[in-house]
Symmetry: D2
Subunit: 287 residues, 4 copies
């Protein structure tokens, strides 16, 4: 099957793009439909919510704020990958139940992360979209496992993964029969230290040139600074992103993780207004 790969000389280094994710083998964009919300269409999809689910009040209040500002999908971590074993690791299944409750109360579909092949079945029972995090982009058993589902997968780029490796990781999922994959650029690791990562917005046009899959941007992890989220979110939409995933917390200063990069409900509300103007300027919609 390796001979089915397409080599694209129109990019530097002649990036080799595997067959199933390759735009040459499927010129029309793939639309990933989540309860009528369509990634890859004219619509720019906004996902928002807390880094992790902390408790009932935090999640319900944040979900209501996301909904009322026009957010379309709720994010929230129940099982958290943390660099240190001594950091908060998430509420586990209790967090999943809270996400289900928030979904019922607001109508917002849910995206949450899975890290372990053994948990795929459990988590997919609670969520609308399964997220594969940066650290697991090359966790091949996990990619194969979610590839066997028929449920949308949000695949985050590894913080030091090339575009080619990112597309090969997506290919693992498609190769198992699941074509509902959303690619997410969330910042790469460079020598620069003023930002948490370096948000590689050129990944948007590049991925859309090479692949038919939808591409979204995470400006929260991509910058690590709340005040940088609005300009980079606007830039992402201008560059042609199919969506955004952003951290919003009802009280950022009390967040158990990533508070410094989480928007408050007010900041999120103001940003939504600005994003609609940019979307319109590039011929897109934010409903």
């Amino acid at each position: 099957m390796e001979s089915d790969n397409y080599n694209d000389p129109a990019v530097m280094g002649g990036c080799s793009v595997p067959v199933r994710v390759n735009r040459k083998s499927k010129p029309d964009p793939t639309i990933v439909d989540v309860n009528g919300i369509r990634f890859g269409s004219k619509e720019v999809v906004i996902i928002a919510g807390p880094c992790s689910v902390e408790n009932h009040e935090q999640l319900m209040e944040t979900a209501k704020a996301v909904k009322s500002a026009g957010g379309m999908i709720l994010r929230g971590g129940a099982f958290k990958p943390r660099s240190s074993p001594y950091n908060f690791q998430g509420l586990g299944e209790e967090g999943l139940k809270l996400l289900r409750e928030a979904r019922m109360k607001t109508g917002l579909p849910i995206v949450t992360e899975v890290m372990d092949t053994r948990m795929v079945e459990l988590i997919s029972g609670y969520t609308d979209i399964l997220q594969i995090g940066s650290r697991n982009m090359q966790n091949y058993p996990l990619l194969k496992e979610v590839g066997m589902l028929r449920k949308p997968v949000l695949l985050k780029r590894g913080m030091m993964a090339t575009i080619e490796e990112f597309l090969l990781a997506a290919e693992y999922i498609l190769n198992q029969g699941n074509e509902q994959v959303i690619l997410c650029e969330r910042g790469i690791r460079t020598f620069e230290t003023t930002t948490r990562n370096t948000l590689d917005l050129s990944a948007v046009p590049m991925l859309k040139h090479l692949s038919h899959l939808p591409v979204i941007i995470d400006p929260s992890h991509g910058t690590g600074h709340r005040w940088m989220v609005p300009p980079m979110a606007k830039a992402a939409v201008a560059a042609g992103a199919d969506g955004l995933i952003m951290e919003v917390h009802y009280k950022p200063e009390e967040a158990l993780c990533d508070g410094h990069q989480s928007l408050s409900p007010d900041e999120f509300t103001r940003l939504m207004i600005d994003l609609k103007k940019i979307a319109q300027a590039v011929g897109r919609d934010i409903c």
Copy 2:
């Protein structure tokens, strides 16, 4: 004097910003005025032109196309820094004379690069803005030399310079008394190989947060692909850039350098229309 540095804890790593470029020591943005074109104002300034000056026809035709599409300043290299000694090194003073002629014919101010302390006087006699290229961002004798002029300097970020080092390089110029410095992000070097460099658009809000100097973006070198220039140019304006510098060539396929990343006059004309929409959406103007 080192104790006059301001340390900014609002960014990762506590970036240390020297005094003269520091926004804390001068809260209002610096406006760099080039014949009435104002970098750092509400206006988004568009600089365009060929990588290098090749001959009379090439420069005059390209300059006319830039002018007619709404470009405001003409770029063009007469002395070219090239990785290999066997590549075209530019026309030298002959190129400067052609730039002067293009300036007279179109009214467009000129920006061209200086690489050698011994050439600063000669080149500054021909140009409106002196460019310091990426490879010379830490050429301190050259920075000091242009610091002694009273002429705008376009300082490009080194391809592996941190934000802190970039601001320290600018400080060398301001410290000699020349405050007319325009900062230009043009892509940094990372592990990614599908693009020539990784355009770090987060440098726009970060530099404007830390400094009062205007910030522009070079999406041509930042991506290395003609077809990526429009989306990244739009993203740059959405992120808050004060201007753009882009490679335009009247016949890109015949260019002696950088043809693959140069826009044709038609492409540039279409892009200008789109850029105006984005500028408007973020409350800026492109005249």
Copy 3:
């Protein structure tokens, strides 16, 4: 527990080293004993073998060559993490059985990789050391799972992981009660393209300064070139490495993976002679 972290100001950036891996909390080096072969002692341990187990002849012939040249432990992949789903993924349990046979025939202990929490029990029944590969360095469920065993773990540094993150990953294992961890530097990702990765030999003195755990080097993946393995292996021993892990194949030109970076038996035999001289020059032994 997070407050038990030790911050080490004797390194740049004040690297924060967690408590269990920290040399300050256990000044004596940890010795990881594998059938009398002692990682972290005066002895420099040599691990060698093929990238993946391909068939009976390949493994037995390679194992004999490793044994006869003085190699102490046999490496070989049965479950292979490959960037593309279309590359050879390993023989699976059949490969484990061949490794067990090679172990019986040569007396060499075995190290092989585990990628999936569900496979830890199976693989640990066949192997003397469990390897966690680069791509799984931050696969926390997997780290916790091997942390619950009482069996040596060879933890490879992620190609994008900082020294601090590497030590935090090891802490996940120690925190579950398993202190038999061997750290392995195998090259990091940089902008340089002439080598597969950039082998960071300074990780040897740095990791041994910060932690009590043994540190070994993989010059095969670290360089990607067979002809670079000997000089870099010698450099690693001179820098103070506690061991080496190298790819050796009885017929490198026919290898299903990594043939270009695998030593032939003759090359490995010659290298062992040279390594003994270097070990002696730094007061170490290779038995």
Copy 4:
């Protein structure tokens, strides 16, 4: 002339090596002879001295210590490239005069840096080897200027330069007729923050594979830590380096720059003893 470049497919990415530095066009190693000290021969050359010349006592005491421990060439900066304009910039010509005096008193040849084309003539009147620093590796007018001399040039790799760019920079010097070029790896910039730079020791075998020029290592800038210099210096010699350049200061704790990475005379003396053992183990000499 560009067609004279040799493309080497034996390295990743098919590194293109220009003709004059290329080993294929001159299979025998180039010997750079400095008063009978021969870079590129069986001998491993040791260069040592302070980061910058500070005053008479400092330089003379350090020079005597270098000489008595067996150092062969004295380094010391008179014109210093510093990231901040507010840091000590060197003594200038006064520093050159002190270097000349130290040369007379100890017999040690001198290496010092030149940053400005206008200073090449002055500095070359005082020094035995002209150093081009990392920040100026792509300062082409400067490379051409030292290329017109008939004096050895120590060319440091830019902290962001690929192997290919490094060799192209050397080609600029050889192309002007000066073949006495010594290549120096001094650490590259990566994401790792515990060390000042990442010392790329694989550059030693790679550069010697691609080029006939001698290659030396700077473990002081390469690590940024005094305590890391000895293991990395030993590793460099084991990897096949033709020499070392190290910072030694008679009172490191009082140094005006780089004290934290400078060896004391006692540390340097002990290291010289260890280096001789490693040199012998790889069939080289340190006289």
